[in-house]
Amino acid sequence: MSGSPNIPSSEITPEATFHNRRFFMKSAIWAGSAFATAGLYRTFAPRPEVKNTGAAITSVAEPALSTSLAADEKINSFTEIAGYNNYYEFSTDKSEVAAKAKYFVTDPWSVQVGGLVQKPRTFDLADLLKFESVERTYRFRCVEGWSMVIPWVGFPLSKLLSMVEPTSAATHVGFETYYDIKQMPDSGSAGIDLPYVEGLRLDEAMHPLTLLATGLYGKTLPNQNGAPIRLVVPWKYGFKSIKSVVKITLMDREPPTTWSLANPGEYGFYSNVNPTVDHPRWSQARERRIGEVGSRETLMFNGYAEQVAHLYAGMDLKEDF
């Protein structure tokens, strides 16, 4: 094309304005894109510190039963313990659970204990807090390959079971977690059937190491750690230590357990910590201690072999994993 275009000179943008406008547009795009990228990163990044807002619990230290931490094993910080949780009812993102469980109502609470017992009974929160509290510092090994050292407060499950007097027919104990979709709106995408259920053999349940925890670091449990009362079985993978218990039932057969229902080939009833039996999708020989960069060896029965190995004498632990 030739000749001058038919635009009156008054409509031509002055060069300076043109450059200013471009500069403005570019700056806006820079800022907008940086804001979007950083914001997206932030939504996925872990949450910072968690404060311990629990009420103090008076307890007796039991160093003899807080078995054998090696010299290089440190107790994990409150933020680590209360900021990194598997509690699928609230979120499957471990660093999200604390925020999502913040308004979970744990008072009033009751635990219904029944089944094959002489004296079935419902314990309310006050009843549960009447048990003499002890301090136990245990290793906690998650089936996913990470671990912590946690200073629990609670009482042996055997004390509660003795009160209801299991009948001679009782061989197993089943547990159930509180479930309410209104309080746990994200539980629909958990990918597991709820309420969460777990179980132990009666001799495992009566073992002195098996604890009903009501607190940690000397204060009542944070919601994300299973308030107001949870099971702690230190020689088994963490998912056996069921949270926010509302029902305990004595039975004469193996109770159903959530993860083995979800995936029987990967999660067994026993789920004892065992470095020689791998998960089908990963090795269990080593673990990452939260707070450490490298990995450490996983110990047989999570380091409690001396206390519990006799429970499994004569069993093939590859078969009964």
């Binding site: 471009r22 547009m25 570019k26 795009i29 820079w30 894109s33 940086a34 990228t37 950083a38 990163y41 932030r42 996925f44 990044a45 872990p46 949450r47 910072p48 933020t79 680590e80 900021g83 990194y84 699928y88 499957t92 471990k94 660093s95 996913e144 990470w146 995408s189 958990a190 990918g191 597991i192 979800a262 791998d278 999708r281 990963w282 090795s283 990452r288 939260i290 707070g291 960069v293 490298g294 990995s295």
Partner: protein, 205 residues
């Protein structure tokens, strides 16, 4: 608007936003704010970023065809290199922190954990693409052969999503979101090629 012709500006924008997540991860590491399990976070973040950049490269063609954003084409190789960059970071995190540089254990791990094999394979496929990402290489290979080679991106992306899907314990929301996006992006190409084939033949109306 001259936005669509300002290649240098686009390049700066991609480089800046591509590096920003890496810088933020380093910043959080330095501040000790990577959460209780920093290794897990860095592994997951770099893995997801790899998928994000792979998906963005696959979006270039549909965005050009539908919205005429042809300027994106000039940034596609750079976007792909960012996928490679985060994929490398992801692999190094695994080797350094999950395996503690015990490389002899990697073989056993790969054979025991199929998702790792899929991840490794997808990463291996990215290497020739990264190597051939220069102008000189396009010339050397010839445009058509180069384009053919770079269609490996589809398989790499599918492998990446599969790798993510298998590792997740039970909540498959995020891998599923990626799977749907990738399915749409690949579906778009299938439909386009069918239409093209039909368009060549005379149409009855």
């Amino acid at each position: 608007m001259t936005f669509s012709s300002d290649t240098r500006f686009h390049r700066q924008l991609v480089v800046f936003n591509g590096l920003l997540p890496a810088l933020l991860i380093l910043l959080d590491a330095w501040r000790g704010k990577l959460g209780a399990n920093p290794v897990e976070f860095v592994t997951r973040a770099t893995g997801v970023l790899t998928l994000v950049f792979l998906v963005i490269t696959l979006m270039v063609t549909p965005l050009r065809k539908i919205y005429g954003w042809n300027w994106l084409l000039k940034q596609r190789r750079l976007l792909g290199l960012f996928a490679f960059f985060y994929g490398t970071a992801h692999l190094l995190t695994y080797l350094a922190c999950d395996r503690d540089w015990h490389l002899q254990t990697v073989i056993g791990d790969v054979s025991k954990r199929p998702f790792i094999a899929i991840g490794m394979f997808s990463f291996a496929l990215m290497i020739p693409l990264a190597v051939t990402s220069t102008n000189a290489m396009i010339k050397r290979l010839g445009g058509q052969r180069w384009a053919q080679l770079h269609r490996l991106t589809y398989y790499i992306t599918i492998g990446g999503v599969l790798h993510y899907y298998i590792i997740v314990k039970s909540d498959i929301t995020y891998p599923l979101i990626f799977a749907i996006i990738v399915a749409v992006l690949i579906g778009y190409r299938v439909v386009a090629s069918i239409k093209k084939a039909r368009g060549a033949a005379p149409r009855a109306s």
